[in-house]
């Protein structure tokens, strides 16, 4: 049995050695906010946080990350309590089809945790591992900058 700490909860799961973290999160825990698109580590849609760092879950073996803290989009917030980054993407319409969005939100959250007031270029660099087929890039950058403002406001209260 493999113990995985996902979104603050420890799960004991039957996992095959070759299974990726993405597969296990989706198929065994129902966390379908973790997307698998290219499956080769190039598009970023499978991005989750491992110990707070954005990581490519389609190229990580689930068994390797026992003992680490894994966060998916579902762990950021829900419909009743959206995380400021999620709220910002809604406010600024930072997506069209939304398929790449969860991964981008995870990378954005990691960026803002370490750099609360990033310049637009820093946002683009931090998100350079994400492909958005709909081309919503300018809206994405605007959403992250708006998230930075929202999170700044949160700190003041």
């Amino acid at each position: 049995m493999t113990k995985l700490n996902v979104n603050g909860k420890v799960h004991e799961l039957e996992v095959e050695p070759h299974q990726t973290l993405a597969e296990v999160l989706r198929d065994k825990l129902g966390l379908i906010g973790v997307r698998v698109s290219c499956g080769e580590g190039e598009c970023g849609s499978c991005t989750v946080l491992i110990d707070g760092r954005p990581a490519t879950s389609c190229l990580t073996l689930a068994m390797q990350v026992e003992g680490k803290e894994i966060t998916t989009i579902e762990g950021l917030g829900d419909e009743d309590h959206l995380h400021p980054v999620q709220q910002a993407f809604i406010d600024e319409q930072g997506f069209q089809c939304g398929f790449c969005t969860p991964g981008i939100i995870m990378s954005s959250k990691a960026l803002l945790d370490g750099n609360p007031q990033p310049a637009p270029e820093e946002v683009m660099t931090a998100l350079s591992g994400h492909i958005c087929r709909c081309g919503a890039y300018p809206d994405i950058v605007r959403s992250v900058l708006h998230a930075a403002d929202l999170m700044g406001e949160n700190c003041e209260h």
Binding site: L61, T125, A126
Partner: protein, 295 residues
């Protein structure tokens, strides 16, 4: 269903023992960003997967003393963040920051880059230029291998079936030095079509006294050209002779043997390898000229 056995050693000794027991039927895994792709495509086959990421003593970055010591599990992200710690680490950091993607850099390791030994491997090229030495362990003991001799072919190193890379040691140069790395790619997230790493040093603060030029992705292994490096000795730092730099770059390129592949043609590599070498020389010399002299 294609699968393998997952093994999680708790020490370097145990990792070496497991590798010795299974030989080529076992593969070490760290970030897995190359290994898993190759396993899925069938390029690589193994029955046992030895996870190094829980082994203590392999994950370190130590720049305090006479040498820089990099543990094989140091991630590209950690290297990218290690700035402001001297010219060598700064260049390693700048180079790591431009490799793959931020997500992949969180788990991809320096050790993996070197041991996978792709001809395009950026860390391999740069570390060769820095005269790095590989620290290797096996059940039987330990040895060191200069990186210049470590790479033996495409995805081939001198590591034996029972050996584990446990560290990379970079000597601090005897003279004040600066390093530059250049690469050419089709798109921003891509393996290098060609790359060049250059190190220059000065004793008198006015001229180059020591230089090393390495070209990558233009041969099965990184190619060092001592003759080309020699041409830069005596180069004036404040107004470097561009004809000398051009000649040195061309000389370095002549020692490569590029092929045509999916990323570009051999002709392109010949032309661009020369340009990258020139740019890396110019950048390294400019950095050396601008760097403050030691007090």
């Amino acid at each position: 269903m294609k699968t393998f056995r997952y093994l999680r050693p708790a020490s370097v000794d145990e990792a070496c023992a497991l590798k010795a027991a299974h030989g080529p039927a076992a593969q070490f895994i760290a970030g897995g960003t190359d290994l898993l792709l190759e396993w899925r495509s069938g390029e690589v086959e193994f029955d046992h997967c030895i996870d190094l990421t829980h082994v203590p003593g392999l994950h370190y970055l130590d720049a305090g003393g006479e040498e820089i010591l990099i543990g094989p599990l140091t991630t590209l992200a950690e290297l990218a963040e290690a700035r402001g710690r001297g010219p060598l680490l700064d260049c390693l950091g700048r180079t790591a920051a431009h490799m793959c993607t931020p997500q992949l850099r969180s788990t991809a390791t320096v050790g993996g880059n070197i041991c996978h030994a792709s001809p395009c491997a950026d860390m391999a090229v740069l570390l060769t230029c820095l005269d790095a030495v590989a620290l290797v362990r096996s059940a039987g003991g330990s040895r060191t291998v200069a990186l210049a001799e470590f790479f033996t072919g495409v995805n081939e190193t001198t590591l034996g079936d029972d050996e584990l890379l446990t560290g990379i040691s970079i000597p601090v140069p005897a003279v004040r030095s600066e390093v530059a790395f250049e690469r050419a790619t089709r798109v921003s997230v891509d393996l290098a079509q060609a790359s060049a790493a250059v190190r220059v040093g000065t004793e008198d603060g006015a001229t180059v006294c020591d230089a090393k030029i390495v070209i990558g992705a233009c041969a099965p292994v990184p190619v060092t050209s001592p003759a080309a490096g020699g041409l830069l000795v005596g180069l004036d730092l404040s107004s470097p002779d561009s004809a000398v730099i051009e000649t040195a770059a061309a000389r370095a390129e002549r020692e490569t043997s590029p092929i045509s592949d999916v990323r570009c043609s051999s002709d392109y590599r010949r032309q661009v390898g020369k340009v990258l070498a020139r740019r890396a020389i110019e950048e390294a010399v400019a950095r050396l000229h601008a760097a403050p002299a030691p007090v």
